[in-house]
């Protein structure tokens, strides 16, 4: 004990003699400061400026005010990209989180082989954003792909799912749900934090499993659910690779997989319409910030903090 007290004392003393570590901090933070300035902050402001200009990389930018922003709302492809992305996000993220929570509940409670199950279910999360998996998806949901082979076994004739405007987006949603492993691991960690005695007490009182789920698990897990929700919403909104590969870079068929970021890429780096692309990027930033803010505000009403 006395050693600890002494350490505590010297700690206080050294804090007094140390008038801050400004010089050392400047050295340790130097790379980060340079990166923040040149790689993050300057481009951020530059893109805000460019969003008010007409700029094609060949000639210098010319100021056109809010024209780019007005153009977005008159641009049916932009509207389509927003609608596609919103549908993708609002359908696949809740499904993905439900799968994640469901599996986490089953895997909790000292199940034998837990580590193996966890790894197997997590693996798709690591691979899901790769080009290889997107190419696989293109085949699996293709006209003569794996899914249709299995359906044919049952005598059902499928579509070319990835080339059908009604179903192409659905295949991408399936791909996103498939990567439920990462939020599942976060849920698993969260479920561990809930004291077992709550459940014991509830079952002694005769509460059904269902009631235990809604009255114990959900409220105590709500901060984690909220955290996962924000994270996955933001991530899903920026999805790019899957749609790019499955549609061959077009966002087709008939713009049905034209993700927001894909349309942004087409504008910025295919037609080099960089002013418009910058305006789209800033709109994206506002959406992401807005979603986060709305979630935080809404969380006051449904997230339960146990302290």
């Amino acid at each position: 004990m006395s050693v600890m007290q002494e350490v505590a004392k010297t700690r206080g003393a050294s804090r007094e003699t140390r008038k801050g570590d400004g010089k050392a901090a400047a050295i340790f933070l130097a790379p980060w400061f340079v990166g923040l300035g040149l790689i993050t902050a300057f481009p951020l402001l530059a893109s805000l400026y460019l969003s008010f200009t007409d700029y094609s990389l060949l000639e210098s930018p010319s100021w056109i005010g809010i024209e780019n922003y007005q153009r977005m709302f008159d641009d049916p492809r932009w509207m389509q990209s927003l609608s596609v992305t919103l549908r993708y996000v609002l359908i696949s993220v809740p499904l993905q989180l439900m799968a994640a929570l469901g599996l986490a509940m089953v895997l909790d409670r000292g199940l034998r082989g837990l580590a193996i199950y966890r790894s197997v279910y997590y693996l798709p999360s690591l691979l899901g954003s790769s080009v290889a998996i997107a190419l696989l998806w293109r085949q699996v949901f293709g006209a003569d792909g794996l899914v249709n082979q299995v359906l044919a076994y049952f005598g059902i004739e499928g579509y070319g799912w990835v080339s059908h405007p009604d179903y192409a987006l659905g295949t991408l949603m399936v791909l996103n749900v498939w990567t439920f492993g990462a939020p599942m691991i976060i849920f698993l960690a969260g479920l561990r934090q809930i004291p077992a005695m709550y459940y014991e007490a509830a079952s002694i009182d005769g509460a059904s499993k269902l009631r235990q789920f809604f009255n114990i698990t959900i409220p105590l897990l709500s901060p984690i659910i909220f955290f996962n929700l924000v994270l996955q919403l933001i991530g899903a909104f920026q999805s790019f690779t899957q749609a790019f590969i499955v549609s061959g870079g077009t966002g087709g068929p008939v713009d049905s997989t034209l993700f927001y970021t894909l349309y942004l890429y087409q504008n910025g780096f295919k037609s080099f319409d960089m002013g418009y692309a910058s305006a789209m990027a800033w709109f994206l930033l506002l959406i992401v910030a807005g979603m986060t803010a709305v979630n935080f505000l809404a969380s006051k009403f449904w997230v339960f903090y146990d302290d």
Partner: protein, 318 residues
Amino acid sequence: MTDTPVRPDAHTEPTATRTPVRERRSLSEVAAQVPDAPHRRKAGPRVRRVLKHVMLIGFGLIMLYPLLWMLSSSFKPNEIIFREPGLIPSAIDLSNYGEGWNALLHPFHHYLLNSAIIVLGSVVGNLISCSMAAYAFARLKFRGRPIWFAIMLMTIMLPIHVIIVPQYILFSELQWINTFLPLIVPKLLATDAFFIFLMVQFFRGLPKELDEAARLDGCGHGRIFLQIMLPLSLPALATTAIFTFIWTWNDFFSQLIFLTRPDMYTVPIALRTFIDATSNSSWGPLFAMSIVSLVPVFIVFLFGQKYLVKGIATTGIK
């Protein structure tokens, strides 16, 4: 005796051994507590447990089926890929690998090497720059620290699309397009702020007494950082290295933008050109090279699972 012997409920197990008073206990339930009757006690839940495992294994198989099928198809001759949804090839054909390896402008190891260079640069860059910044945020006192820290946290959430256009302009002014510099240099400048955050969290968990004692012995911050903090932070460094590896290896968006010359292509970009270069009917070689592209991630996953799981659970990264 209408009561089931033990409710098939894992949570009753601790209660069964602990609770002294419970009115509605059936005889068999009491009997179940006698130590030499463990089998009867577990008879009910066992069926359920087996069922649960069967379900979990079945579900896992369905999830992994596309992957396993791709692996198996990469060994199938092209003409049977589309006729065989099964996993065991009726004929094994290794030529897909040879064919795929040489299907593009450059042999596939050219792209593997390009990816490896970028990954290596990114891992080293992130390890050095993020741990340095994290040390400052976790241990040093300087003016405006809370504000800088908040700014750092905000940059984590910043979508790359908002800065990519000016970055492209900047890097093309520097003549850096079609070099690996736009993909490596930012990592040396700690722009992957997520890892700063991860390491700040880890450093904060280390006992402060250690570096305070070192300071009393006359150690400067450089030595404290290098000789005390870093050796103790191997788990956080491993997590950073593993995630950087996987993210960079899988990264498509920025590599697509900054690398447009075929000899600079990385694995994901090269894979993508497969669709254009070969007709849609040659899935075999494409699957073979897709498998090759996934092998490094899979190896890292096998050996780094512990750090991956810990990293996700504490910070929520993918």
